[in-house]
């Protein structure tokens, strides 16, 4: 989806530059929400203010919305068919694999030193053992990040803040 957005707004329409769109994608990734939706809202706002943001959001959301609604309707119609029931027994196992694969891919860029590994393993254990809502684990991650970096700075230990970056002060 990201390369498609870039092609549309930079090459085809010439609305913004490659540099701008790269910055927008970077921000769209680090705030809550889907990257494609966030990028569309941002680009819409840059071009035509609040109305542009709304227009871009509606534009990017509507096709997805109708496709999902349509698929849900189809799913409810066919789900009691014995063949579909059998297919979904297999599909559920592959959904587990797809989620495990998502964890693997995110892990490749997220887990690169001892502290990040410890945080990840602890979060799985905490989610498993304590009856805690996952939202608090996410908020805990933000606080842990701020705390660990500050503590290591205080102790004079260098923290690489993402996998590729140079040290920052």
């Amino acid at each position: 989806m990201i390369p498609m957005i870039e092609r549309e707004v930079v090459s085809k329409k010439g609305w913004i530059t490659t540099k701008e769109v790269t910055e927008i994608f970077a921000i769209a990734q680090s705030v809550p929400g889907a990257i494609a939706l966030n990028s569309a809202i941002f680009i819409g706002y840059r071009l035509a203010g609040f109305r542009g943001a709304i227009a871009a959001l509606i534009g990017v959301l509507l096709p997805t919305f109708w496709i999902v609604v349509l698929l849900s309707i189809v799913f409810f119609l066919v789900k009691n068919n014995p063949y579909i029931e059998a297919a979904f027994i297999g599909i559920r196992a592959s959904v587990v694999a797809i989620i495990a694969y998502a964890a693997y891919k995110v892990g490749l860029t997220s887990l690169y030193d001892k502290a990040t590994w410890v945080i990840a393993v602890l979060s799985v254990v905490i989610l498993y053992v304590l009856p805690i809502h996952p939202v608090f684990v996410i908020l805990g991650g933000i606080i842990t990040g701020l705390g660990v970096v500050r503590l290591r700075n205080y102790l004079g230990i260098f923290t690489k803040l993402d996998k590729e970056s140079e040290r920052m002060d």
Binding site: A26, V68, S72, I98, A102, A120, G145
Partner: protein, 179 residues
């Protein structure tokens, strides 16, 4: 009332949906089971259908759950709840802090957030494995599911097969093995 509940639930999910949609799967799962909208196994089917649809997976899940719970108005309420935080946050950043990403506090927060997101996704894989019998008793049924799981994972990581194709192939295996 159900519509308000759907909207507020996905509004909350929208505000914390960091790091791509998959991290939101356990969050949405916790919400739909707590509200009694679905069981974990039913929600696994939602993830499958959401994964087959184009567009962001978490938003797709929200739309599907909304439709399942309260039909079209439910789907609309859930979608609006999910995208409202994006709109609000992006507008604030676009207006005031264009240099948001280079902020050292933002970077430090992500140092902790990224591993948590990895952990959340791994946790949801384990949880789904248990509620769909991939982790279960020693039987031919469990063994066949573990085989489908293992082959799917191998196809995704090593052969770079597209997830939609993996879903379709595993569905065909399902029809052959279980019907």
């Amino acid at each position: 009332m159900e519509l308000v509940e759907l909207f507020l639930t996905f509004l909350m999910v929208g505000f914390v949906s960091f790091g791509g949609g998959y991290a939101m799967i356990p969050v949405i799962e916790a919400e739909v089971t707590a509200h009694g909208w679905m069981t974990t196994q039913q929600f696994t089917d939602v993830v499958a259908v959401a994964g087959m649809s184009p567009g962001p997976i978490a938003t797709n899940c929200a739309i599907f759950v909304g439709y399942h719970t309260a039909e079209l108005p439910g789907a609309i309420a859930s979608a609006l709840g999910m995208v409202f935080p994006s709109l609000l946050i992006i507008l604030i950043i676009a207006k005031f802090f264009f240099r948001f990403n280079n902020n050292k506090y933002v970077k430090s927060a992500f140092y902790g957030l990224r591993p948590i997101i990895t952990g959340l996704i791994a946790y949801s894989a384990i949880q789904f494995a248990i509620s769909n019998d991939v982790i279960g008793d020693l039987s031919w049924h469990t063994f066949s599911l573990v085989a489908i799981f293992g082959l799917s994972l191998f196809a995704l990581i090593r052969l770079h097969v597209h997830p939609i194709l993996v879903i379709i192939l595993s569905g065909i295996c399902g029809v052959i093995l279980y019907s």
